[in-house]
C-alpha cells in the first residue's frame, strides 16, 4: 500500500504528521516534509497512514493500492 500527498492541496495544517509520527515529518514551514511524494507504507504503519488521511482537512492525502504511474 502507498500513501500519496498532493502538493497542490497540502496547505500545511500539520495534522497528518501529528497523528502519524513514524511515517511523516514536518518541514520548517510546517508543511509535511513528504509533500508531493508517494511512499510505500512500511509494515505495521497502515493504521497511521489511514489516520493521517483522516486528519487532513484539505483531503491532500490518499491511500493507494498501487503507486500511480505519474507520481
Amino acid at each position: 500500500m502507498y500513501i500519496a500527498i498532493d502538493a497542490g492541496r497540502c496547505m500545511g495544517h500539520g495534522r497528518c504528521y501529528a497523528v502519524a509520527e513514524d511515517l511523516l515529518s514536518d518541514d520548517e514551514q510546517g508543511y509535511v516534509a513528504q509533500c508531493g511524494q508517494t511512499l510505500q507504507i512500511p509494515e505495521g504503519l497502515l493504521g497511521q497512514a489511514r489516520d493521517a488521511a483522516d486528519a487532513c482537512p484539505e483531503g491532500a492525502i490518499s491511500i493507494l493500492e498501487h503507486a500511480r504511474a505519474d507520481a
Partner: protein, 399 residues
C-alpha cells in the same frame, strides 16, 4: 411562498447581534437544515451563505476566484489593513513563506517552556482570590503576554499594552471610536519603537520574527516599514480575541460538565484531543468572507462578480453530515482534525499551532491547581455577535 434571490431562500437574521450563550449556533443549525444555501440581506451588499461542511471546505479551496477582497461577509468594507489576509495568490504565498516558520509546530515547541511558566504565574496570582472574571482577568491576559513574547518584547509590557488592545477591540464592536483611535496610535507607536530597536540590534532571524521581517526580501525588495507594522497589528488582532474567546467557551463547558473536567484532571494526556474537539464544537470565527471575482456557478447557485460569500465555519463544524451528534463533546472523535475552525486553503490560520499550544497549556496548568470551579450562581452568559466571545465568565472555587 418564501421569497428567494436567484433561487436561494432569504435569511433576515443579523448575526452581528448579541445573544444568550450558544444562540448563534442554534440559528446557524436551523439555517443549515432548512436550506443548503441562503441569501442574507442584513448588510448593504448582502451575502450568499455556504453552510454544509463540504460546501464550506470547497469555498475555502476556490481561492483563485474567491478572494479576501472581502474578509468578513458581515463587514465587507475594506477597513483596517491586515497582512497576510489582504493578499491573494502568489503575493500571499510569498509573505506566508516568510511568516510560516515562526508559527510552525517546531517553532511553537520552542515557546513551550515560556508558555508554561507564564501561565503558572498568572494562575498563581488568581488562585488565592477564590474567584475571578475568567475572561478579563485570565483569558485575555495570557495570549497577550505570549503575543508580546512572540515579538521578542517584554511580557511585563502587557500591563499597559492590554488596556490599549482592549479599547481598540471594543471600537470594532461598537465602542467609543475616539478612544479606539487613540489606543491604535499608542499601539502603532509601541510597535514602531520595537521595530526601530530591532533594526539597531538585529537578532538571529531564524528565531526572532521581527528581525526576520526586517531582513527578509520578497522579490529582492525588503518588506516596507508600513507592512511590518501592519503584520504586527494583524497578529494582535487575529490572535488575542480569538484565544480569549476559545477559553471562555471551553471553561463554560468544563464548569458545567463535571465528567469531562474529571477526565482531563485524571489524565492530562487527553488534553490535546480535548482541545481539538473543543475547537470544533465551539467555533468562534463563525464565518470567513470572500468576494467572487468571476461570474460562475456553485452547485446550482449562480454567482456574479462582486458577490459576497459567507463561508460558514460555525455551520460546517456542527454539520451532522460530517460530525455525527455534532452537539456532543466526544473525546477522540474520529476525523475531528478535519474541522474548519481554523479555516482551510491558503489563508488557513497562521496561528493555529500557537493557539493549540496556548489552550493545552492553560488546561493542564489550571486543572493541576484549580481542579474544581463553578460559574457564579445567577449569571446569564451573553455572547457577542459577529465573532463570538463571552462578555464575562465569573468563576468561583474553594481556596
Amino acid at each position: 411562498m418564501t421569497e428567494t434571490e436567484r433561487g436561494c431562500p432569504y435569511s433576515h437574521v443579523d448575526f452581528g447581534l448579541d445573544t444568550e450563550i450558544y444562540g448563534h449556533y442554534a440559528l446557524l443549525d436551523g439555517h443549515r437544515e432548512e436550506s443548503r444555501f441562503h441569501f442574507n440581506d442584513t448588510t448593504r451588499r448582502g451575502f450568499y451563505m455556504l453552510q454544509r461542511y463540504d460546501d464550506v471546505l470547497e469555498g475555502f479551496q476556490r481561492h483563485e476566484t474567491w478572494t479576501t477582497h472581502v474578509r468578513s461577509a458581515l463587514n465587507p468594507e475594506p477597513g483596517t489593513a491586515l497582512l497576510p489576509q489582504d493578499l491573494n495568490g502568489e503575493a500571499h504565498a510569498k509573505l506566508r513563506r516568510v511568516l510560516n516558520p515562526f508559527f510552525a509546530p517546531a517553532a511553537v515547541k520552542r515557546m513551550t517552556p515560556m508558555a508554561h511558566e507564564r501561565c503558572v504565574e498568572l494562575i498563581e496570582e488568581l488562585r488565592p482570590k477564590g474567584s475571578c472574571d475568567f475572561v478579563a482577568e485570565f483569558a485575555i491576559r495570557y495570549p497577550t503576554d505570549l503575543f508580546l513574547a512572540l515579538l521578542g518584547l517584554p511580557v511585563s509590557d502587557g500591563e499597559f499594552f492590554l488596556p490599549w488592545s482592549e479599547t481598540l477591540f471594543a471600537g470594532f464592536f461598537g465602542g467609543d471610536p475616539a478612544a479606539a483611535a487613540a489606543a491604535k496610535a499608542n499601539i502603532i507607536a509601541y510597535f514602531t519603537e520595537a521595530v526601530r530597536e530591532r533594526r539597531a540590534n538585529l537578532r538571529d532571524p531564524r528565531e526572532d520574527m521581527v528581525s526576520r521581517l526586517v531582513e527578509a526580501r520578497i522579490d529582492g525588495e525588503p518588506i516596507s516599514e508600513q507592512d511590518i507594522l501592519t503584520i504586527c497589528m494583524t497578529l494582535m488582532l487575529a490572535g488575542l480575541d480569538t484565544t480569549r474567546s476559545a477559553l471562555g467557551y471551553i471553561y463554560t463547558h468544563l464548569a458545567r460538565h463535571e465528567e469531562d473536567r474529571r477526565a482531563i484532571v485524571a489524565d492530562p494526556g487527553l488534553i490535546p484531543a480535548a482541545v481539538e474537539e473543543f475547537v470544533r464544537l465551539y467555533p468562534l470565527v463563525i464565518q470567513a468572507g470572500r468576494e467572487v471575482q468571476e461570474d460562475g456557478e456553485f452547485h446550482g447557485l449562480d454567482l456574479r462578480r462582486g458577490d459576497v460569500m459567507w463561508l460558514g465555519i460555525g455551520s460546517a463544524n456542527r454539520d451532522p453530515r460530517k460530525f455525527p451528534e455534532p452537539d456532543r463533546f466526544v473525546l477522540g472523535r474520529k476525523g475531528v482534525n478535519q474541522h474548519l475552525a481554523f479555516g482551510a486553503g491558503p489563508h488557513r490560520c497562521l496561528g493555529m499551532h500557537l493557539a493549540r499550544l496556548e489552550l493545552a497549556v492553560v488546561l493542564k496548568e489550571w486543572h493541576e491547581r484549580i481542579p474544581d470551579y463553578r460559574i457564579k450562581e445567577g449569571t446569564t452568559l451573553v455572547e457577542r455577535g459577529g465573532q463570538l466571545t463571552l462578555k464575562t465568565l465569573p468563576l468561583e472555587w474553594e481556596v
